[in-house]
Symmetry: C2
Subunit: 321 residues, 2 copies
């Protein structure tokens, strides 16, 4: 099933979110308008704002609240990507040059700050202090996860638990924000909010594991950025962890992390992972998380949106970009 079909229960309102996001770039300063326009062209999967609207559709759907919140989750996502690219010095994302590449690190940092602020401002439109707080906590958790990734760069002694904790912080937190804020703003009962929180967590972990898989088996054209970029940054992910486990002695990842900057080791690691059953194992782990995400959805109101949440989980495993 295509994403557009999955989003059907909220498709029209998602278009409104995208239109409103484009309006964010209408500001007085021409140079800021240019930066914003470049960053906010809707080329992503819009999965986070869709989740906010879908979660909201389970209870008392109020677009006046959900629209700014959905915008905020997407802007927070965009802002973190802009900072990540500046930090990693990544030249390409979603098949186009990054803000960092075009305008430089200084402007990328400040544009990210601007978008964090704008996102926060949008959450206050809901007049709901609980979701505003959740938003700020999410940003704090994401920054913690990104810091952990940098501090753990080129560290071969990482456990599976550390990996899960890290991707929980840097990725799942935003999925939790997306669904939980939708639930809170549509006055879902606490038990349902809890179920959607778990859905967001597990879906987010699965999403990131698939991201980490695609960094080994994807194509640059599909993924929109160079393959092997995690290894190039010294970031250990599930596939490379399993490769280390499988070949503890003669291992390209080990050599890469010890000597840095050796393009041929990255190539070799990718080949070895592709030629093994590691990818299959990684997909099994990701699928388990997706199953866990969906397990308790049955306790939520039975409507088209609930079905879409399940299908989103299936999509997350299947996706090629």
């Amino acid at each position: 099933m295509q994403l557009s079909a999955i989003y059907k229960p909220v498709r029209e309102d998602l278009v409104k979110v995208e239109k409103e996001l484009e309006l964010v770039s209408k500001v007085d300063f021409p140079w800021l308008a240019e930066l914003l326009g470049y960053s906010l062209k809707s080329e992503g999967k819009a999965i986070r704002p869709a989740l906010t609207l879908l979660a909201g559709k389970l209870y008392h759907y109020r677009l006046d609240n959900l629209l700014p919140m959905a915008m905020a989750t997407e802007l927070l996502h965009v802002a973190t990507l802009i900072h990540d690219d500046a930090i990693d010095k990544s030249p390409v994302r979603r098949s186009k040059p990054t803000v960092y590449k075009v305008w430089g690190e200084d402007k990328a940092v400040l544009l990210g700050d601007y978008l964090f602020a704008k996102a926060g401002e949008l959450t206050t439109v809901t007049q709901n202090i609980r979701v505003v707080k959740l938003f700020t906590q999410t940003l704090r958790v994401i920054a913690t996860g990104e810091l952990a990734q940098i501090f753990d760069a080129y560290n071969l002694e990482q456990t599976y638990q550390q990996y899960i904790q890290r991707i929980s912080n840097k990725t799942a937190a935003l999925f939790i924000l997306a669904v939980e804020s939708g639930a809170v703003l549509s006055e879902a009962p606490e038990v349902s909010i809890k179920i959607l929180n778990e859905y967001g967590y597990n879906l987010g972990i699965a999403f990131q594991i698939v991201d980490d898989i695609l960094d080994f088996i994807g194509t640059e054209k599909e993924v929109g950025k160079p393959i092997g970029s995690d290894l190039a940054q010294g970031t250990l992910t599930l596939p490379s962890m399993l490769l280390l486990e499988r070949y503890p002695e003669d291992n390209p990842v080990k050599r890469l992390f010890q000597n840095r900057d050796r393009q041929e080791e990255i190539k070799l690691a990718i080949e070895q992972v592709r030629d093994s059953s590691i990818i299959e194992e990684c997909y099994t782990v990701a699928s388990d998380y997706c199953d866990r995400a969906c397990r308790r959805l049955i306790l939520l109101p039975d409507n088209a949106s609930r079905q879409s949440l399940t299908e989103t989980a299936n999509y997350v495993i299947r996706r090629k970009k």
Copy 2:
């Protein structure tokens, strides 16, 4: 009058703010705790949290609300400095190496993000959506001001109005947040909130003009960072604008901006400014803003805090660091 004497009406509570700020660095991850501990050691003037408390003392003083808000204004300030230093590649601030210098640009960016989030989270403790919104707007305005500064770097064609607009965004906005949030949280009448907003604006402009003066006439020991750093960044401030106006042809600032990276031009510009009446003129402008800041304070409740607000304005002109 010393700052400690000016702060007298809120001195004990300001100590509580500083103690609570130190607790922000008590987190699980040792490397994050180290970064936070380094950044949050109270060595600044604490002028912004003091303003929040002083403004709060004019009406229904509630420390449970004012304490997290005062912390938030200080954290927002610290976070913007950390990002600024990373962007400007500044090695020293407050006489110690910057986070950028010690840990690198990537960690400085993420630490700033973490602190923005933490500050935002603290504003939600007040349960007051109005001050949360004001906080997010302030961050957005500051980022806009910083971007303006970068886009205007090495641009000789800047008007006085552009300069005031820029420092209003990058500096005065935070002073406004500090006093206005204190007023809102202590249930000040709208007319008083407006008066304190104007106070914050004018005080902030004066504060930045003095900052810009000190970058010409201060000593590195007092100011805590190299003198002439604005010119080194290509940033035109009031003293250099007046110098350009005075000597439109043979001018070291003009040559510096046209050719970049010429240390001797910076030295020359500093000497010419010091040997002229420009500093006096700049102080006159700053003093005018301080007068404007205080003009309508007389309409506020007559207590020791109101007196402290006036004395803070005097201090801002007098200060050497």
